[in-house]
Point group: C2
Chain length 149, copies 2
DNA sequence: TCTAATGTCTATAGCGACTATAGAGTCAAG
DNA sequence: CTTGACTCTATAGTCGCTATAGACATTAGA
């Protein structure tokens, strides 16, 4: 299997596959007469593993460790559990901050709905209006803070 | 106000402030005799705006557009609303995928809890055991897919 | 007043995880 | 036998910083 086929099967770009090889995540495969990389099923599974980990936002050096573990499953795996725990924590924090963010953006958008003809922007109007302005969350105020208020 | 003071007041690093200037988000401020940048309150508010947007994961070129709009509020603001909508959508997608990911990682971790002495890893054991293995979600199987199964 | 510490300046290089480009070689179909 | 698609290597660019080097400015203490 040449690199293009591997790319197609996995949905990973050709350049990215070569990049993973350069970074030591994929081993250098045998070459054809014409110096083309030749992959087998094991390589495909290894790449799928990598891509799966990447979907999980793992970093390449963490994935590398996981691959080493995969290659030598008899080794101690305590750290794997720890790695997962710290990633789960990271994810919790990320979700929380995204939810906050979403709330704020929705709030902001609601001030600027329904398009606009040219002269008076709902966001700016809202912020010029002290009443409605101060009803909005603190963060929102800061976001366009320098306007008269 | 010198750059260090601005940095302290906003919680933004000095280098980052200079970086924002280079990228055209902050205008080049006047200089002191000794060639130090001198900022005023408006600069501070502008920087806070930028930082707030960054907290919202906006990209610098988007923020730049928002700043231009802030500088010329009479312009059409339809695109602002559209920008916000597309960002809210992005966030929804991100939250969803993070939640999926978290479920998978938790599931995976549960196979590798309680440490390990050296010879038999719970993850690998679980995956070697066809019964328990196939009870796990599809994605998890793939994650350590090349193991006997 | 001198000196040492701190702050600021510019320019450049590095990070992670790719992505794009250039220029060459290889292969299969018409 | 040529055209076009694929592959090769090497290098530079992306984004949003961060780190480093080496020089100049300012400030506090002796």
């Amino acid at each position: 299997m040449k690199i293009g086929e591997l790319a197609e099967k996995t949905g990973c770009k050709v350049v990215t596959i070569r990049y993973y090889e350069k970074k030591g995540l994929l081993t250098r495969p045998p070459r054809s007469k014409g110096n083309y990389r030749l992959y087998n099923e094991a390589d495909l599974e290894r790449l799928e593993f990598i891509l799966h980990c990447r979907k999980h936002e793992m970093q390449l050096d963490e994935i590398k460790k996981l691959l080493e573990f995969r290659d030598h499953p008899q080794r101690d795996c305590t750290w794997v559990s720890e790695l997962l725990s710290s990633q789960i924590e990271d994810i919790n924090a990320k979700i929380h901050s995204l939810q906050q963010l979403k709330k704020q953006l929705k709030n902001l958008r609601s001030r600027c709905d329904g398009g606009h003809d040219g002269e008076t922007c709902a966001i700016m109007q809202g912020l010029d209006d002290k009443e409605s302005c101060c009803a909005v969350e603190d963060d929102l105020l800061k976001l366009l803070g320098s306007h008269k208020h």
